[in-house]
């Protein structure tokens, strides 16, 4: 209802009528849009009215009609906003199946490709400058390492903060949270220096204390490796580690103290208590951390951009960002950029569909991302 009225108003007062451009479905693009919008609204309105009129639905507290009208409006709004949320995703998929000339056609404007070009996807793997398979391997490896590191360290450290009493605990935990305020660039610049292979500078400054850095320098193996992307994670010192620790701590706080006491009475060491009693109970929180970590490293951009300066070490994000600029061609190949986007997004989408509950639990526990 609302959407139809809105659309009608915009068309009537907006001047130019909806286009007469043909679409692959045989009708013009304007008609197609019209039909979709209006049909959706009709279906909704009719079902809404039917629902309003149906006698089987139990009475609620207040005036019945008003309530039902309210929920009809709510549905309308929810659908309208879903369209806004999903249109760019639709556009990505649609463009990824077009040919190059089709992406540049304005008259007629093609909402859908004339003939889906499934070949765009295999073509991605034949680029010369980027070995996309290698990029997938790089990104997956980094993601897996970071996942293991984040889950392990957050579960370990989080337990210390949640369930073991020691002097200065609250102060230290405050420090964990305050490290979220440190801008990532502040962490990255020294990390870059440390791993750049030019560590003799540090040596100059610190005398022979850090003579082990000669090893770094002589081999220069620290330059252009994944080390700066992975090592901090193993010490709970990466950008979002503090949040993972926070999530695990909050979860451990809900585990009854009696269980831990029982373990102690039985003479188990604290490590054994953690490993045998606490960890098996914390699976939901660990899954939440795992998924957030996975999503974070899969899409990480700035760290790979700074630390990985060789093409065959790049990650998928860097590869995708290069589509924005012209790749030695005269025009941007949007269809390949979008196909790459689909490929990179698909794994996380599937993961989301499988583990939606944990995703949302993790986010509402910590309020991260964004």
């Amino acid at each position: 209802m609302i959407a139809t009225l809105l659309w009608l108003g915009l068309v009537v007062f907006g001047g130019r009528a909806i286009g007469d451009q043909p679409t692959p479905l045989g009708v013009t693009s304007g008609e197609l849009l019209w039909t979709i919008v209006i049909a959706a609204n009709w279906i909704l309105d009719i079902s809404g009215l039917a629902w309003l009129a149906s006698p089987r639905i139990p009475r609620w507290g207040g005036p019945r009609l008003q309530r039902r009208l309210a929920s009809a409006i709510r549905y309308q709004l929810m659908i309208g906003i879903s369209v806004l949320a999903l249109i760019p995703i639709f556009w990505m998929v649609s463009t990824s199946l077009k040919t190059l000339p089709e992406t540049y056609e304005v008259e007629p404007y093609l909402l859908l490709p004339r003939e889906p070009q499934w070949g765009n996807y295999p073509f991605l793997f034949t680029f010369e400058r980027f070995n996309v398979l290698q990029l997938f391997k790089n990104t997956s490896l980094m993601t897996v390492f970071n996942l293991v590191a984040n889950v392990g360290i957050a579960a370990f450290v989080g337990y210390g903060f949640a369930r073991l009493r020691f002097p200065g605990r609250n102060l230290l935990f405050l420090l964990v949270l305050s490290s979220l305020m440190v801008p990532f660039i502040v962490r990255i610049i020294p990390l870059f220096v440390l791993f750049s292979g030019n560590t003799y500078i540090l040596q100059d400054q610190l005398g022979q204390v850090f003579s082990w850095t000669i090893f770094f320098e002589s081999r220069s193996w620290a330059q252009n490796t994944y080390l700066p992307l992975v090592v901090p994670e193993f010490f709970g010192a990466a950008g979002s580690s503090a949040l993972y620790i926070f999530i695990m701590r909050q979860y451990f706080l809900t585990i009854p103290h009696e269980l831990i006491e029982a373990g102690r009475v039985d003479g188990a060491s604290e490590f054994a208590i953690w490993r045998r009693i606490v960890l098996p109970q914390a699976t939901p929180a660990m899954v939440a951390v795992a998924i957030l970590s996975l999503q974070g490293s899969w899409g990480a951009f700035i760290e790979p951009l700074i630390f990985l300066r060789k093409v065959d070490l790049h990650t998928l994000s860097i590869w995708l960002s290069s589509f924005r600029s012209v790749q030695g061609e005269s025009v941007i190949q949007w269809q390949y950029g979008m196909a790459g986007g689909v490929l990179v997004t698909l794994p996380v989408f599937i993961l989301f569909l499988l583990f939606q509950r944990y995703f949302i639990a993790g986010i509402s526990l910590s309020g991260i991302k964004g």
Partner: protein
Amino acid sequence: MRAPRWTIGRREAVWGFVFISPWVLGFVVFSLGPTVAIIAWGFTEYDILQAPKFAGLENYVEIFTDDEKFLKSLANTAIYVGLLVPCQVVIGFLLAVLVNTKLPLASIFRAFYFLPTIMPLVVASIVWAWVLQPELGLLKFLLEDTMGIPTPRFMVDEYWSKPGIVILTVWSSIGVQMILFLAALQAVPPHLYEAAEIDGAGPLRKMLHVTIPLVSPTIFLVIIIGIINSFQVFTTAFVLTQGGPLDSTLFYVLYLWRKAFVSFEFGYASALATILFFIIMCLTALSFWVSRRLVHYEQPES
């Protein structure tokens, strides 16, 4: 075997330190150390190939007196944060109110609104670069070609580039704010609404006097996270506009990145980073100070 003279409490404390020790090490090496290094390098001239040379306040003097781009990028970032954070709070809250219902299918809509958040930010940026493309983009087609609404040229117009990035960021982050507000809304005890109804409050009054005060800690959380994150905006601007048109999306971290990793002026970049750190700390402290007066924290029962 542990020495028997250890009391239980002492033993627990030692284990506590054992458990947090990886973090302590990481904190010292990868957070505290870098912060100290950055502050120190801010007073030097440093091109990474040679050892840093002490330069006193030279970097800071140059930044504050002779660097137009510093002011420009700071102003850009401030405008961006000022546009984005209120949008995130208001839209996130309204969305949460909208989907906070037991109606059938509501959970599907929640998942829809959350999908853009799942998408890696680089992908979202590329997609929006295409949607907002001034001649061929979908937005121009939907607004201008079918309905005759003039569409701003988001990526090429100096005045519309920042709103363009704000739209993209709202689209790709709103799921998080929605979830946070939703959790807060569902935690509001129903008896408060019942009490308000008995007092004759309508929906608007219930919203103003019950919901918003009880949700205010979340509003505060969203604002703080929003400020800290959006002050460090990088990826979207890097992919979408690369700082362009006319430096209108040259955000602070983008400028800093160029100084550090394009022209390798590490001393100068460190000074810039110190200033950024200082700004973020001040803004966070300010938010906490303001929140003490405005945020309502529910007293825990019993």
